[in-house]
Amino acid sequence: MIYRETGQFKISYAADQAIFPIRQDLIGMLLILAVAFIGIPLLATDYFYLAILIPFLILSLAAIGLNLLTGYCGQLSLGTGAFMSVGAYAAYNLAIRVPDLNLLVIFLMAGGIAALVGVVFGLPSLRIKGFYLAVATLAAQFFIDWVFLRIKWFTNYTPSGSVSAPALDIFGYVFATPRQHYLFVLVIVVIMALVAKNLVRGRIGRAWMAVRDMDIAAEIIGIPLLRTKLLAFAVSSFYAGIAGALWAFVYLGSWEPYAFGIDRSFQILFMIIIGGLGSILGCFLGAFFISIVPILLNQVPAALGVPISTATASHLEYMIFGALIIFFLIVEPHGFARLWQIGKEKLRLWPFPH
């Protein structure tokens, strides 16, 4: 209905292959960006930044990482939390051991280290597939959890095992307020989402999807399977690593290994399933949904005048999450992104039904 595509014809392949070939989509995206960069900073409260926006953005980034691996390359992983923690501890150690290093460089290197670890744990993907691989990624989760819990060097021998991030100082500018944190994270997430989109719409993305859709055929047309899968593991872990570093440095400030436990891995997996496998947009939709529901669960009963204990609230949260996930899988197994796609198709054809 809002789409007016008549007259939007393409006279070059560059235009035909643009990320948003339909002008209305492009305008919509620019509007969203304007709201994110200008509207929200004008209006949002600190609570809004700290409780909703910042975690939402960082988890979206982690979800993009997992979606590249699982949604695009078809390699199911249950170890995202572990790769996030690699990023977080790598950044922490770089920051305290090489104090002069610029924080952006530290984040990039943290991502790089996470990517290397990801490649190591991706090696079994050559020999094993499907659920076997998913279980194998749990090995990464448990092993890495253990490493940061037991090997004290990584936590700089702090007695409690809890570590604190240094201030966010980039080229001498200190990001201190929640709004500044938000904008910092936003810039990184927008750039990395764009990069992810570029990867998946080009040669690399097609190789990943070929492996996902039919690995035998992919190999026969000349795609080296191991290299392609390992690249997916590397890129995915790079994203998770940066998300982990941001989670630790920007959102938590100080943290324990528990912050990146298996629950985190599941949380991010839920995001991409609910959001939509194989869709960058879906990562944001899923992350938004998964991070907003617990907040609503905490707020709504209190607002209705039925206060419940924290323990009950947390059990209820589990139940509702479980039920919601089943509900979504039944209603739309391909997630919000597919719902959006269907809705968009309807709007484009409006008033016709098909």
């Binding site: 079994p124 749990l138 589990y318 509702i320 996930i325």
Partner: protein
């Protein structure tokens, strides 16, 4: 490294103790893994909720035992697990029939989350002691063979016996009964099974019920040992490397895999763990299974896969 062998050589009795302890744990891993295998074989669903089912069953049992004798509580818990299987089949599996594997897997994750929350909401979330009337005192056995004998927990022996008995019962069930045969037919070929008149929904109900009862037994034994608490759900994750090792579809694989993992993990923990910080049993099983897989991707009992195009 050498010191380890020296240690084993010097204290063979202790080594046997460790191995036996490992075997006991392994039997329990095998029990949980069996639940996975049953469901995967019959419906192709990778049931991540098996751990939550163990917790849920143990909680039911322990809380019901507060108001009724053991046998009644056990039967009631069985009934609850069957009812649960019924609900899962009706509310989750049936609407998702013909979906891809990953979707069903996700659904079981949802079930796991739901059950964890639901169980603790209705049954409470404290640590409950499960008293089965089996003495927990350790006893010395084989004193004539090893100097100082071998220390074994009576509860572990009980657990091994129960688990072993259950495995035998299940094996008989699959090999000898009509329903068991039908289940195997389904595992081999869904369409073929349907065409010979086995209703798929019925089959699913049965396997989920059986898996529920297996979970109850596993929960009972584990609960008696560790106390009934949330961490039971995590113990079930231990069954996953067992599956990698034994193969997702092999009942003997689950048993042998469980024993290997149990023993390997105990030995590693006792002899190496202390040198690298301890607590390695959380991941050792996985890494062991992974390394193993690199050499035999189809698992211990899986068949070599010939890919066709």
């Amino acid at each position: 490294m050498l010191s380890v062998f020296a240690q084993i050589y010097e204290q063979p009795g202790f080594f046997v103790e460790v191995v036996l302890g490992g075997l006991m744990a392994g039997v329990l891993y095998a029990l949980v893994a069996l639940g996975f295998v049953l469901i995967f074989k019959a419906s192709g669903v990778f049931n991540f909720a098996q751990g939550a089912m163990v917790l849920f069953a143990a909680l039911s049992l322990v809380r019901l035992m507060e108001v009724m004798p053991f046998w009644a509580a056990f039967l009631a818990s069985c009934a609850i697990m069957v009812a649960l299987a019924f609900a899962i089949e009706r509310l989750v599996l049936r609407p998702l029939v013909n979906q891809e594997g990953i979707v069903l897997f996700m659904a079981t994750l949802g079930i796991a989350f739901f059950l964890d929350g639901f169980g603790q909401t209705i049954w409470g979330s404290e640590v409950y002691t499960l008293e089965l009337g089996v003495p927990k005192d350790p006893v010395f056995i084989l004193e004539s063979v090893f100097e100082g004998g071998v220390l074994v927990n009576q509860l572990d022996i009980f657990a091994a016996v129960v688990a072993g008995a259950l495995v035998v019962v299940l094996a008989l069930f699959f090999q000898k009964t009509k329903i068991g045969l039908a289940l195997r037919a389904v595992a081999d070929d869904h369409q073929a099974a349907q065409s010979i008149g086995v209703p798929l929904n019925y089959i699913w109900l049965i396997v989920w019920s059986v898996a529920g009862i297996v979970a109850l037994v596993a929960g009972m034994v584990w609960g008696a040992k560790l106390g009934v608490q949330f961490s039971l759900a995590l113990v079930a994750l231990k069954a996953l490397p067992v599956l990698i090792l034994g193969g997702f579809t092999s009942v003997p694989g689950a048993i042998v895999g469980g024993l290997i993992i149990g023993v390997g993990e105990k030995i590693a923990e006792v002899y190496f763990g202390s040198q690298i910080g301890g607590g390695i049993e959380n991941w050792f099983a996985y890494v062991l299974a992974l390394v193993f897989l690199l050499f035999r991707p189809q698992g211990l009992f899986g068949e070599k896969i010939i890919e066709r195009v």
